[in-house]
């Protein structure tokens, strides 16, 4: 028979844990909203960017650009792994790390050298533990990513790709599909797929006769790196929203589990208390009967 006081202590500790997980759940819920608003407010820029890109691409047709060029060899690739700074978010980070790990394994098997850019303390810690030295590490940006952060990350790969030091760049991040669903995805950042540019060009208004300053090709040359930066920024924002979504789900189930546990524990507590009382009565009755004799 478990001790009454032990059960009471267990209930107390589970209750205070539930208090924490419930608070974290509420905080995450509030943060999802903010992160979603940030994704929304980035949309006008992204749309205008595609419009400008389309117009430029239509005039600079067939223009060569190092970021559009696929390299004939494939010796080195870079993977940008976007994780969070904090844990307690379910499989949020392990999904990203596993996916990155798979890319490293597959590419290495084909004789390709893989470098990692770690975004978030979780990725930084993991790769350090695995003995892989990331070429760049970013901490304390996963919660509130700014465009400046994205620019800085993109700067590591854009120049290197143009110089043919690296042959492909991927970004692995959690895509925010809904509050309840986040999916780890891998996107190719470089080379920029020609299809993207061609589709943008098809969408442009053919009646407008644009002038370009200095000329279409120069504008395109400047525009494509900015386009890559916006893709990185997008991944960072998606990941931030997903992090809060994943944490909310994880904390909700932790809170529910704690509640279930409290119910079970209370039942054992009451049963133990009942047993103790019955025991006492039996003893009293037994004692009284002994006196009567």
């Amino acid at each position: 028979m478990p001790n009454l006081r032990d059960i009471k202590n267990r209930i107390g500790s589970v209750e205070s844990t539930r208090q924490i997980t419930r608070t974290m759940e509420m905080v995450a819920t509030a943060k999802i909203k903010r992160a979603q608003e940030k994704i929304e407010s980035a949309r006008p820029y992204a749309l205008s960017m595609m419009e400008v890109l389309g117009n430029v691409a239509r005039y600079a047709k067939g223009a060569e650009h190092p970021l559009l060029e696929e390299h004939p060899h494939r010796l080195r690739v870079v993977v940008i792994a976007v994780t969070s700074d904090r844990g307690l978010a379910g499989a949020f980070n392990s999904n990203i790390l596993r996916m990155t790990e798979n890319v490293i394994r597959d590419e290495t098997a084909e004789g390709v050298k893989v470098d990692v850019i770690a975004v978030g303390k979780k990725a930084a810690g993991y790769f350090k533990y695995r003995g892989i030295e990331p070429i760049a590490t970013y901490r304390d940006i996963s919660d509130k990513p700014t465009f400046v952060d994205a620019k800085s990350i993109a700067a590591h790969v854009i120049e290197a790709y143009a110089q043919e030091e690296i042959d492909a760049v991927y970004v692995v991040f959690n895509r925010f599909r809904s509050v309840a669903e986040q999916r780890p995805e891998i996107h190719q950042l470089l080379p920029i797929e020609r299809r993207v540019v061609e589709e943008a060009a098809e969408g442009s208004d053919v009646r407008a006769e644009y002038t370009f300053e200095p000329d279409a090709k120069s504008v395109l040359r400047r525009l494509l790196p900015t386009y890559v930066e916006t893709l990185v920024f997008r991944a960072l924002m998606e990941s931030a929203a997903s992090e809060h979504g994943a944490r909310r789900t994880a904390m909700k189930s932790a809170t529910d589990n704690a509640s279930d546990m409290i119910v079970t524990l209370s039942r054992s507590y009451n049963r133990a208390r009942q047993a103790a009382i019955t025991n006492e009565i039996a003893e009293i009755v037994g004692g009284a009967a002994a006196l009567e004799e």
Partner: protein, 138 residues
Amino acid sequence: MERTLLCEIVTPERIVYTNEVRMVVAPTIDGEIGILPLHAPLVSALDPGEIRVMHGDDKVEWFAIAGGYIQVHEDKVIILADQAEAASQIDVERAKQALEHTKRLMAELPHEAESEIDQCEADLKWCEMQIKVAEKGH
């Protein structure tokens, strides 16, 4: 009714400004250009600098931008800026602090950290631009 332009200034993070205006002056990489209604379609890259937006009543609004692009089409001016801030919204004290901070940071960087140095230089330019525009725009 006088013809107006729809001017939109957007950054990857938010819409900074959107309004009907009489004229927009922007710093393209070939020099400053003024855009009035009925301007021919144009796409141009912008240098870091100041944007001036003029209203019908000769009121002028100033913006600092850290480089970007401008597209003019059918009386609609879209300015895509890496960073942009209205002169009235610029916190000069904060910009000055950031300037000092970045300078210190840069002094500590080793010479081979080229991308970090470039980043710092861009930050410095942006801080200086904000301070300049804030002083002019007031």
